[in-house]
């Protein structure tokens, strides 16, 4: 039970790091990430759950962080865009967004990256239609969807090539 109150002490793990903070019950999770933890990679686009710019992975589930309250995150593990790159090196998806010009103004990019990360975990080799379906909750106001889909497709294609390679390897044995 989390006791009844307007403020709560919560423990949250973000990108592997544990944070203990006192939060107001009315604070949106996105504000907790940006203002309290200073993790400003997660963006606020619409503030009404429509645009997906604030998408993060919450206990393994893709969510819009403007649609949760900070105390709901007590005990949760959260992944944000800051957690994608390792030792200063962009992850394959980020590299693909860079290579295929998957961003124009860049505002929707953190949300797109987290959504694509989740999508590729669920289904490492999505078709173009599955990618379009998967990013339905993320709006790019530059309307740069063609290159965003291309960026994600390229990673799926690489997964497909690896999977085929593995299968062939097995067949030869």
């Amino acid at each position: 039970m989390i006791r009844q109150g307007t403020t709560h002490t919560i423990q949250v793990t973000v990108n592997g790091q544990v944070y203990n903070r006192v939060v107001e019950a009315r604070q949106l999770l996105v504000h907790f990430l940006r203002d309290t933890l200073d993790l400003t990679g997660t963006h606020i686009g619409c503030d009404t759950g429509s645009c997906g710019a604030c998408s993060v992975i919450f206990n393994g589930q893709l969510v819009k962080s403007c649609m949760l309250l900070a105390p709901q995150a007590d005990g949760a593990e959260i992944e944000t865009v800051e957690g994608l790159a390792r030792s200063g090196e962009l992850d394959p998806l980020q590299q693909s967004f860079s290579a295929h010009h998957g961003l124009q103004c860049g505002y929707c990019t953190p949300g797109m990256l987290m959504t694509a990360t989740y999508l590729l975990r669920q289904n490492p080799t999505p078709t173009e239609e599955e990618i379009r379906q998967g990013i339905k909750g993320n709006i790019c106001r530059c309307t740069g969807y063609v290159n965003i889909v291309r960026s994600i497709s390229a990673v799926a294609e690489a997964h497909r090539a690896t999977a085929v390679g593995t299968t062939e390897g097995r067949d030869q044995q």
Partner: protein
Amino acid sequence: MLLKSVEYVRPDTVPEALDLLRSNVGAAPLAGGQSLTNVLKHRVASVDLLVDISALAELRSITRTAEGVIEIGSCVTYDEIDHSREVRAGHDIVARVAAHIEDQQIRNRGTIGGNCCLSDPTNNLPPLLVALGATMNVRSAGGSRQVAAEDFFKGYFLTALEPGELLTSVTIPPLLSGVGAGYVSVSVAADSKAIVRAAARVEVKGVIGEARVVLARVASVPVRHRGMEDALRGAPPTAESVRAAAATIGNELEPIADSHGSSQYRREMARVVAQRAVLEAIAEGGGK
């Protein structure tokens, strides 16, 4: 965005949640929060205490009996319904509808209970549950009761729930041999808000037996169209007779007009989606 000050509590059990709902007049249950959070942002309802029921195990299970009756806990998410083997086994249409609610983020949080209790006329599940003859299982600190889905939706953002009551699960009867279901919408865009929608459950035994045809977005709540149901009963399961039955949908409906369609447009599209939903139900039922 800054919300009005609010209290939050996360009980460990359903009885604890029910006590909290009974003893706090301004309390509201918080399930997936995919609508309630926006309600709080816009300050359109006054909530003093959020009782977070989203993780209560008792509200999170799906069970299927040997007879094929399925019970879905109110805090089961759309994504979980989509991926549930129990739901897919005998109620594929429920999983298919859940799989096309808005987007992945919302499907990961939004719940069947929230979808019903909000009673937003654009919501996907209410017309389907009315067509399938579902039962809403309701509990309060004082006891429990069952409400037919048909009687649960009372108006715009209004249900049969009394203060202190909580929807704990939804029971859906089996779709037996010869019985099929259909669901067709005209939407603003793919997987988005419906302009008009129909859900149907049709029994076919040589001719059409019992038929339930439910229209949504033509009134504040999902409505059964008795005229079309009567016209279907005893008719051959053909496109011709379904078209004739759909012609009974007429001026008794006075749908709202908005930027997505006039009242007349909705009425005409209601005929189209009702026809298609019934044909889908016949095709599905005939395949069993």
